[in-house]
Amino acid sequence: MSFDFTLIIDAVPKILLGIGLTFQLLVVSAVLGLVLAIGIMLMRISGKWYLSWPAQIYIYIFRGTPILVQIFIVYYGFPQLEFIRESFIWPLFRDPFGCAIVALTLNTGAYVSEILRGGVMGVDRGILEAGTALGLSVRQRFIHLTSPIAIRLALPAYGNDVISLLKSTALASTITLADMTGIARTIVAQTFAPYEIFISLAIIYMILTWILQKSLGRVERYLGRYMQK
């Protein structure tokens, strides 16, 4: 068995052409997912059953099923439904990119909402009591006390989810999108050299993960500076 380096040198630039799409999938889903997660989390902690239950059901479904199945349902399944085909959001679902975004957003939204909720629950009750005793309203306590502290608490777990999201973007290749994995699989089909190509691809993802982790570490340290003696 020989390790063909010329193949790698040839393939890597082609694979990197897909990095734009990978990033688009990552950033758009992450941002939309975060907005969705904040909404779901607020519903979940609202204390009103008609808000809390739907949120819990949504979280249960999207954390309990594989992301690949969710992608397939959106990409293959939705076009089958008449009311989707005839609605104004049809252009979104007709396009594999749109489907991938929808599926990834819904999936990460469920996980991140629980992560945010963990952060909120983790805020020391005493601090909120002090705020109450000083006369701060519920809204003021949430904005000035709970949120800043919860964000710092949730950051490590959130960072992990962003990295998971990066890895999930690779599944977009299963619905014909030409992200890095998609391009790599095409090259493998043409060259019959899975080892070289896939290992190169893995290394690229590992580098991206490493960059993400370092950046997140910086943010964590900056936000946590009040914790350093």
Binding site: D124, G126, I127, E129, A133, H144, L145, Y226, M227
Partner: protein, 247 residues
């Protein structure tokens, strides 16, 4: 019922599920009075003062602060909390803000004072508790005693009429207890109405106008410090005092 009373508690009761934490509490606090509340763990002392600023809701009876009755009406509660300050056993400073911001936050949000005025008040009070140089530090950089003094300054920034102290020195190392007691004694000498739950009997003797002993959710005995310590009337009071004063 004297009209001088800033706090009136009439037949107040509070239960947590099946456990009755407070039974038939009757208490009147006059303006400028310094009250010390003592008693064994679980006697309901903390619960009682927490009912005064409605961190706990009383189930029976009435609580009247400065003429206004405490109910579920949001306006009432906020009005009360503006005038009643609280100092906690675990300080509860806002960890993500500097000392200065800790002192300014409530002033700006609740009393709606301007940034400059809030800052001035904050610095004045930091001077009063003798740690103005810590203004730009974060709570974690201060010692326990310093943090508690900041907590007291934070309450004072709101210019309250009454301050409640919930075991303010219980979480402190022994060598830091005095610096906090000094600040509290200073406050007392300025005529601040205070209710203080504490085990510091020396403080009670020197500062209190009245000492109240609570046990099992009831007020068992109350008297002026001299009478209380040298001549306790109730058996339970005697037992508690012998336990706490023997070391």
């Amino acid at each position: 019922m004297t009209s001088n009373a800033v706090i009136q508690m009439r037949n107040v009761g509070k239960s947590f599920g099946t456990f009755q934490a407070l039974k038939g509490i009757n208490l009147e606090v006059a303006k400028g009075e310094r009250i010390v509340v003592c008693g064994p763990s679980g006697s309901g002392k903390s619960t009682m003062i927490r009912c005064i600023n409605r961190l706990e809701k009383h189930d029976e009876g009435k609580i009247i602060i400065d003429g206004k009755e405490l109910t579920d009406q949001v306006d009432d509660i906020n009005a009360v909390r503006r005038e009643v300050g609280m100092v906690f056993q675990s300080f509860n400073l806002f960890p993500h803000m500097t000392i200065l911001k800790n002192l300014m936050l409530a002033q700006r949000l609740v009393r709606k004072t301007s940034k400059a005025e809030a800052r001035d008040t904050a610095m004045q009070l930091l001077e009063r508790v003798k740690i103005p140089e810590q203004a730009d530090k974060y709570p974690i950089q201060l010692s326990g005693g310093q943090q508690q003094r900041v907590a007291i300054a934070r309450t004072l920034c709101m210019k309250p009429k009454i301050i409640l102290f919930d075991e303010p020195t219980s979480a402190l190392d022994p060598e830091m207890i005095n610096e906090v007691l000094e600040v509290m004694t200073d406050l007392a000498s300025y005529g601040m109405t205070m209710i203080c739950v504490t085990h510091e009997m020396g403080f009670a003797r020197s500062v209190a106008d009245r000492v109240i002993f609570m046990d099992a959710g009831e007020i068992v005995e109350e008297a002026e410090p001299e009478a209380f310590f040298s001549n306790p009337k109730n058996d339970r009071t005697k037992k508690f005092l012998s336990q706490i004063l023997s070391h």
